[in-house]
């Protein structure tokens, strides 16, 4: 049943939407793995952090108390993975008392309405 799809020359717009806090569930970590793999396929990739997902990129995470690996430095490596743009949602940051200076990577801040418009322009949205 295994088949190779003909994807020669295909370049689609992928958007990875992170909406979960980083350590209570595994979603954030496994999305990150997905983003890094997708880079090998040379697609257009953007990432958005919304809701509790904005905590994934908060500076100064100290995880030894919960015996989890702090994977937030990995987000800084994303530049090398040809991720075109990283967005964070304005309302989500504000509701959690966060601003751009609290984040481990530079982001473009968009309102919920703008993120929604951006979603409309994507080919594939992977959302967690």
């Amino acid at each position: 049943m295994e088949e190779d799809f003909d994807t020669a020359g295909v370049k689609k717009k992928f958007m990875f939407v992170n909406s979960k806090a980083p350590y209570g569930t595994i979603y954030a970590l496994e999305v990150l793995e997905m983003i890094m793999i997708s880079a090998a396929f040379e697609q257009h990739a953007v990432i958005a952090f919304i809701d509790d997902g904005v905590f994934q990129i908060k500076k100064d995470q100290e995880t030894s108390g919960v015996n989890m690996k702090n994977f937030s430095p990995t987000y800084r490596a994303l530049e090398g993975y040809e991720v075109e743009k990283v967005y964070a949602e304005k309302e989500s940051l504000e509701a959690r008392g966060l601003s751009e200076e609290d984040l481990v990577i530079p982001v473009e801040i968009l309102s919920a309405a703008e993120i929604s418009e951006l979603m409309d322009t994507q080919d594939m949205i992977v959302s967690f």
């Binding site: 994807t7 295909v10 689609k12 997708s38 396929f41 080919d123």
Partner: protein
């Protein structure tokens, strides 16, 4: 239409795998093509042949395998997610194969629509 499917939850705690199964079945009945079903996160547990639900309950592991055999559907389990959860070739149910995340990205590239089932 050519569909790609991603299943992100296991077969018992969450409805996602049931919903995906019924979607795939209905899509094929309507004449669409399902290019691949990709199992990620706890979705890899859908491929555990050791799972033994009670006799009066549905057995999604078996149902996926039967659907795949009937309609020649490619059922792919993510290797990184699978190994974390102890899903290895030794306990892989009929109809599934283990491969890399690249198979999901490739699916997204090739399919007209990719649907994600999970939270």
């Amino acid at each position: 239409m050519k569909f790609g499917i991603q299943v992100n939850e296991g077969p018992f705690t969450h409805q996602a795998s049931d919903s995906a199964y019924h979607f795939v079945k209905a899509a094929i009945e309507k004449g669409h093509e399902v290019m691949r079903v990709f199992f990620y996160y706890d979705g890899v547990n859908n491929a555990n042949k050791l799972s033994a639900p009670q006799a009066d309950d549905r057995n999604l592991v078996k149902m996926w395998g039967e659907l795949a055999a009937e309609h020649n559907i490619d059922l792919v389990v993510c290797v990184a997610a699978a190994l974390r959860r102890g899903i290895k070739d030794e306990i892989l149910a009929e109809g599934f194969r283990i491969s890399g995340l690249g198979q999901l990205i490739e699916l997204g590239m090739a399919a007209d629509r990719t649907l994600v089932f999970g939270d």
